[in-house]
């Protein structure tokens, strides 16, 4: 790189025709840069197009949620998020997230341990199967649980005889949430742990550490940021899932409505201000998620770099 900079090639900018002339940069090394950069007007246009598109499709929808939520005043807003049905929706959404996130966290760690630290047959198939829930439509994800636990489903008769309810009840909502958030932690941990290899763990075992000691003292400190990253993404999806939960919920107000379903109910009743008020809670959570994600992402990249530097 430094060698190529010192080469006497002041004409490269002119070789590329009129492009070099668009940028008036005095010093020679910068003129070399100009040959591999776009002219100023093009940079400006592309930046404007990119920011314009993002404003139109990302920023305006986000701003709209908060604008519409407070449009009818703060009191209407407060009333919408503190009424009984909204509170029960918040409780149900929290319950679903509090069950599904830890379950998928344990699964993610177990799957990553098996896949990253051992060499076994069928690994690629297993990797594909773990990603499967991401490629299934949310509606189909809900439907398959109806087929297992519904009235006409495999276990329908058994559940009916024992007076147990899964579909149109809380367990179904939890199951659907577990399904759609299934791969998040695993797919963050697997590539990182594969890059880290298993020398450190092997050294710990040789020095006499037990399996759990190896995990808690060697592996966990190495993967903690990626783990947190996966949990953040998993949690965001658990709070926001709509399609899958919609199929298994039955939309019983105050009982089986999660926050996204409560928004739908309010919206369909033309209570727009209330719908946007509840939506603003989830939009706020989305903003927190994006902030945490950006913070943790840097740490995950550092973890990956360390792993790549000491293979």
């Amino acid at each position: 790189m430094s060698a190529s900079l010192s080469l006497p090639v002041p004409d490269t900018a002119e070789l590329s025709g009129s492009e070099g002339s668009g940028v008036a940069i005095p010093c020679p090394p910068a003129r070399l840069e100009a040959a591999t950069a776009e002219p100023f007007w093009l940079r400006l246009t592309l930046t404007a197009v990119a920011l314009g598109f993002m404003t139109l499709f990302l920023f305006v929808p986000l701003a709209t949620v908060f604008f519409e939520a407070f449009r009818k005043g703060f009191e209407v807003y407060l009333a919408a998020i503190t009424e009984d049905d909204a509170l029960s929706a918040i409780r149900l959404t929290l319950t679903a997230a509090l069950i599904s996130v830890p379950l998928n966290l344990i699964f993610g760690v177990a799957a990553a341990w098996a896949i990253a630290k051992f060499d076994f047959r069928g690994k690629n198939l297993l990797l594909t199967l773990i990603d499967l829930p991401f490629s299934v439509s949310p509606v189909v994800s809900g439907l398959i649980y109806v087929l297992v636990f519904g009235l006409q489903g495999w276990l329908g008769e058994f559940l009916g005889d024992h007076d147990l309810k899964v579909i149109f009840a809380v367990p179904g909502i939890v199951l659907a949430t577990v399904f759609v958030t299934f791969p998040f932690v695993a797919r963050e941990l697997i590539p990182l742990m594969q890059a880290q290899g298993s020398e450190q763990e092997e050294a710990a075992v040789v020095l006499g550490a037990s399996g759990w000691q190896v995990f808690w003292r060697v592996t966990l400190p190495n993967i903690k940021w990626a783990l947190l990253y996966g949990v953040i993404l998993c949690n965001a999806r658990a709070f926001g899932e709509f399609g899958a939960v919609s199929v298994v919920s039955g939309h019983i107000r105050g009982q089986t409505n999660t926050l996204p379903l409560h928004i739908e109910t309010l919206y369909n009743e033309y209570q727009f201000a209330a719908a946007f008020a509840v939506a603003s809670l989830l939009a706020g959570l989305a903003l927190v998620t994006l902030g945490l994600k950006a913070l943790v992402e840097l740490r995950v990249k550092a973890e990956l770099r360390t792993a790549a530097a000491n293979p």
């Binding site: 591999t36 197009v49 990119a50 949620v65 509606v139 709509f242 727009f272």
Partner: protein
């Protein structure tokens, strides 16, 4: 003991293989594989005629056309603008860049129902954008397209970003010294290196749009034969207690999803090979 004896290719001193793989397989089977197989078994046990009638009725076929057409158009637009956004994010400095970069992930973080009602309000006749447009967007097929563009954008940007960051700058310098214009360098040097990732991002956005439900049903208006997407028809059939019909359509969607998943895996393998070659020549 079972797994380590039959599956393990190489002995390892690390403990926990049986426990970890055993739990992984049990959990995967209970949560994902068994319920998914229920859809196929349900369809297999139903009468062929009922299945065929369910998946080929005019209303369902119209929904396939809308879902496929809109997904394809949305993924194409996302590929184009995703490329521009990634280019700007990776190569040009501007104030507030980290904030803009974080905002790209909004469609991943914002619940689909929230996005759905927000987009509907924006593109309604009296909405912030809708009032300036000479045509209707909310409650038409165009609304379906808009929602699909929203949810698909981060797939393209996040797939392209690491690849563009890794492109060897010396290749561009070489092209410039050999007399290539900037456009030639982009078309003949940079674009071929980005192509696998661009196609992967396109396919991911397309797959996501095909299955999307939450953000679309609010803005689509859901008129039969006009603006009804396929996932909605599954719900409609379920509400009419036609579980077999709903499952038959779900199986069609699952099969398409599996084919796309296979295609995406192949594309990613291609992208990795390309990137490996590029990095190999770097060092």
């Amino acid at each position: 003991m079972l797994f380590s004896r039959t599956l393990l290719k190489r002995h390892s001193v690390l403990p926990g293989f049986d426990l970890a793989l055993g739990f992984t397989l049990l959990y995967l089977s209970l949560i994902v594989l068994l319920p998914l197989s229920a859809a196929f078994l349900k369809t297999a046990s139903a009468g062929w005629e009922h299945i065929w009638a369910s998946v080929s009725s005019p209303r369902v076929v119209a929904s396939y056309q809308l879902t496929f057409g809109a997904s394809l158009a949305a993924a194409t637009l996302n590929a184009l603008f995703g490329l521009i956004i990634t280019w700007v994010l990776v190569r040009y400095p501007f104030p507030g860049k980290r904030l803009v970069d974080a905002l790209v992930d909004l469609p991943f973080a914002l619940p689909t129902a929230v996005a759905g009602i927000a987009l509907t309000a924006i593109y309604a006749d009296n909405g912030v954008i809708g009032q300036w447009l000479p045509f209707k967007v909310s409650f038409t097929p165009l609304g379906v397209f808009v929602a699909m563009v929203f949810i698909g954008l981060p797939f393209v940007v996040r797939t392209l970003q690491p690849v563009l960051e890794d492109i060897n700058h010396e290749l561009e310098e070489a092209a410039a010294t050999l007399g290539a214009t900037r456009w030639q360098t982009f078309r003949l040097v940079i674009l071929p290196a980005l192509l696998p990732a661009l196609l992967t991002g396109f396919a991911l956005a397309f797959a996501r749009a095909l299955g999307e439900y939450g953000s679309i049903i609010f803005i689509a208006g859901n008129m039969p034969m006009v603006s009804e997407i396929t996932p909605l028809l599954i719900i409609t059939k379920l509400e009419q207690y036609d579980v077999t019909g709903a499952t038959a359509i779900a199986v069609v969607m699952l099969l398409i999803a599996f084919v796309l998943l296979l295609g995406i895996n192949l594309l990613q393998a291609w992208a990795r090979r390309r990137q490996g070659l590029a990095e190999g020549s770097d060092r």
